[in-house]
């Protein structure tokens, strides 16, 4: 299984070498955002206002971490289910978003947007929130603080372990369920 160490922001060249099933250790800055934050990002775009972070080459992690205990940058921080952000992802990909990180299936529209805009979807291990938090070395709320766990955070990650679930060429890693009929 090919393993790549990549740094954010991600480039077209980074994305083009990735195929479904590859392991990626991600380094640099990523942004957290889930349901409520995405809705607010859309409202900002509709109003023609700037977003709290630059989308060009950006990676969004679908996560709502648990509160940071004293002495730690963040609490548990595993992925949430991605399909709930499907309604928003194509618009963000068109504006430069290079990667989303979550768990579970994406819609055909999101897969098409990844092909059209050279982007990928990474899977992180769901339910391994304590383990994944070890790779997050810093975390700061940069927008929508009132959303609590759903606020947008700028997170610094070191060798954050990911699997390419959907690549930019239509490849997908998830097993297709074997149904008789």
């Amino acid at each position: 299984m090919p393993t790549y160490t990549l740094n954010t922001p991600l480039t077209d060249a980074d994305i083009e070498k990735l195929r479904a099933g590859d392991v990626v250790l991600l380094n640099g800055i990523i942004y957290s955002g889930r349901d409520a934050a995405h809705k607010k990002l859309m409202e900002l775009l509709d109003a023609g206002k700037p977003l709290p972070f630059d989308l060009k080459g950006a990676s969004i992690y679908y996560v709502g971490p648990s509160p940071a205990p004293p002495g730690r940058p963040i609490g548990s921080a595993g992925p949430t289910t991605s399909y709930r952000m499907d309604a928003y992802a194509p618009r963000l990909h068109a504006l430069g978003l290079k990667a989303t990180i979550g768990k579970g299936k994406r819609s055909d529209e999101v897969k098409q947007a990844m092909r059209d805009n050279k982007a990928v979807y990474f899977g992180a291990t769901g339910g391994a929130g304590a383990l994944l938090s070890k790779c997050i070395t810093a975390s700061t709320v940069i927008a929508f603080e009132e959303l609590g766990p759903e606020a947008v955070r700028e997170m610094k990650v070191k060798d954050f372990p990911l699997l390419v679930i959907n690549d930019a060429f239509g490849g997908e890693l998830y097993a297709k369920p074997k149904l008789d009929d």
Partner: protein
């Protein structure tokens, strides 16, 4: 009448919330170890390895096993001769709020329309059954949103019978695919009514993964469903393999002659629950 102090209940519930979110139950751990040994795909094996490491780290650091510490579900068996000054609901709720605050657990409860977080994980979802005697048993379950979203209730026609039930369950798991964090555990409620079937389906998830249903016929049904679901090959986190589901737990209840209610509660692999008795 036996009085149980509300403060004692609150303290025990707070402790239970913190403990359940940082200590994987032994029966679940044993299944992970079995999966790590026997899973046929390398990707699946690797997931089990990570989950075991995550469980160790969570226990050691008290960071929750999963950032989704769930809505707090309580199944309560309350003796008819038990008295709690101020009420058992209030005592449980206060304990839950303390546990989620002091344990740095995520508060995941919000208004359904404005989506504003209630801030303290209230309300606790409390099901109380009155039983004879003077004992009080409180079971707590941290139920995450990802797996709950994949759960379903349906009203089958009696003619569909067991084959219809089996088909619905298998199709539900197939459709959910990687979304609910497999390997999953299934709580299946058969019979009752539209609201009762899902109640007993979720309650069935409190059973030990390696127990055997006392009724051999039901035990055989559980085994049949488990085999059918695992044939789907979804595997840990949807990466393919033989461990899609760790256990199926069925609860049965008599139903109306016109109905066959069926509820499938999907539980993620982070099956966090504990109980306390007074």
């Amino acid at each position: 009448m036996r009085e149980i102090k509300a403060a004692d209940i609150s303290a025990a519930v707070a402790q239970m919330c913190m403990s359940a979110n940082t200590k994987l139950p032994d029966d679940v751990r044993r299944k992970f170890e079995e999966g790590y040994k026997n899973e046929t795909t390398e990707a699946g094996k690797e997931i089990f390895r990570q989950l075991l490491e995550n469980a160790d780290l969570s226990f050691e650091t008290k960071l929750p096993l999963c950032q989704d510490c769930g809505l707090a579900i309580f199944y309560v068996e309350m003796g008819e001769d038990v008295f709690v000054k101020g009420g058992v609901n209030q005592a449980i709720t206060e304990g839950m709020v303390t546990g989620y605050k002091d344990g740095f657990l995520r508060k995941s409860s919000c208004d359904p329309l404005t989506r504003k977080n209630t801030g303290d994980n209230t309300p606790a979802i409390i099901h109380i059954d009155m039983v004879p005697g003077d004992r009080l048993k409180i079971s707590y379950m941290a139920k995450g949103g990802g797996s709950e979203n994949m759960s379903r209730v349906t009203m089958l026609s009696p003619s569909q019978g067991w084959e219809g039930i089996k088909k619905f369950v298998v199709n539900r798991v197939a459709e959910a695919g990687p979304n609910p964090c497999p390997p999953i555990i299934l709580g299946v409620g058969i019979g009752g009514t539209f609201e009762y079937a899902p109640k007993i389906a979720k309650q069935a998830l409190l059973r030990k993964l390696d127990d055997t249903h006392p009724d051999p016929k039901v035990a055989a049904m559980e085994a049949e469903l488990l085999e059918a679901v695992n044939k789907l090959g979804i595997g840990p986190m949807g990466l393919g393999g033989s461990y899609t589901c760790l256990a199926v737990k069925i609860a049965l209840a008599p139903c109306h002659i016109a109905s066959l209610p069926l509820a499938v509660n999907v539980q993620c692999h982070s099956a966090r629950h504990e109980e306390v008795e007074f």
